[in-house]
Amino acid sequence: MLDPNALAQPTPAQRIGRAVVANGVVRTLAPFLPIVFVWWAVAAAGIFPPAFFASPAEVVARFGELIYTGVLPGYLVDSITRLAYGAFFGLFIGIPLGYLVGISRYARRLSWPLLLFFQAVGDIAWLPLLIIWFGFSLTSVTFVIVYTVVFPLMVNIVAGIDAVPRDMVRAARSLGAGRTRVWLDVILPGSLPAVVTGIRTGLGYGWRALIAAEIIVGTSGIGFMMFDARRAGQVTEVFVGMIVLGILWYMTDSMVLAPVERETVERWGMVRRPEGAGVAR
């Protein structure tokens, strides 16, 4: 079996093996293997009636069908479009507003009670009113997402501005920076970790709000698909929906948020890990 040459020069099989271990896809999927196994075991043991608990094989099969018939891709596009709209407007409104509130003690004192009040009136609580105003439309859903994205973003940015070390601001001032330069060169980059955290939290909330809104507003989308499936007693489809949600968030995180963080706050040593919320002090 052991060929001495194979040690010196890796065989194609070995090279493939190493590539697999080093591969990000494998490293991402490996932690799910035990969960899938337990899931499969529970389904196979027949603890729950099959109508209530779908097996992995059924879910995969249904997943394939939903893609093949174009139902899932269509709903996915709907959901992602809504999230994109919501996220865009949420960031567009939330980031400037956060800095505006953070900039002056005056603006902060005025807006802080409002901020806390409207943050407490949860996103979904707006839906009855929104449906009356805008009907079952993209506007209603976008509003809800914008709403969920804006508040964590603002609160994080205000906290981030406060967390910029005083010595850093003082250093800039005694190196000749005026108030504007201090804002542009110190407060803005210094609060970036908080902005990133705010975007992450905001989008996470926004994504959940989207599903909730789709369940209630319900004309299309992943959330609609799941709730519609419940009505039809299609447990397998609910499972598919849940898995799709998880995958989508993971992709958003690893393909959009994480690379941005790697190039900025992580590179500057201001944040330790993308997953950890801890900000380096």
Partner: protein, 272 residues
Amino acid sequence: MSHLRIESLSKVYVDEYRGENVVALDDISFTIEQGEFVSILGPSGCGKTTILNIVAGFIEPSGGRILLGDKPIGGPGPDRGVVFQSFALFPWKTILGNVRFGPKMAKRSRSEQDRVAREFIELVGLTGFEDRYPHELSGGMQQRVGVARVLANDPQLMLMDEPFASVDAQTRMKLQEDLIKVWEERHPTIMLITHDIEEAVFLSDRVIVLTSHPGRLNRDMRIDLPRPRQWANLVRDTRFSEITHEIMGLIMQGSGNADAEQEQEAVGEASP
């Protein structure tokens, strides 16, 4: 005409919890000459950092006045560079970017910014690290950047607030020797705040000793040790130990008993 003139400076804080006035600094007067290296020495709570913060323009004095050259100082400005205990480097800027910050604020041309920054990076011995980020450097190296960043701005006065207090003892001695070299080469006017007696004596032309609670001027001592100074020569120097002992005595007289004991412990730990 002295370079920096501090006249009957006082600072009173309001303790918000007790609603009392706390006198941090009481009638402090001293001067610093052009190119002089002066240390302000005192136990913790003597208000020495308050003096620096006032001279830097970070906080307002309650009374007295400060003249730099012949003009009263205002808010923070590039004429008074500050080296912080916490380094306070900008983590999102490279070493070059950090050192270039002052010249950039002074709106000098890009090539001029680079030339000046590289010159001072070389002066503190960090050539080759221009493109690194601060967190990639050791504490000692970061503080070298802190010094280069201030000197690149060619300030009239360099203020140093316990600059070597957060690095280990060996690194500290090396940094002190290198600071002396830089000072001997460029002769910036330096006001350094420290609680480390040996550091103050080793570095300075003059040591100003403060008492605590309230901070008052205790003694203004000229350090007549010959230059260039190196730790290897001074550790066994009788004059050096005479001076440090004299200052230790002053500090213990000048503070309460409990404080004095604490200070003695701290000094015992610090000595090699």
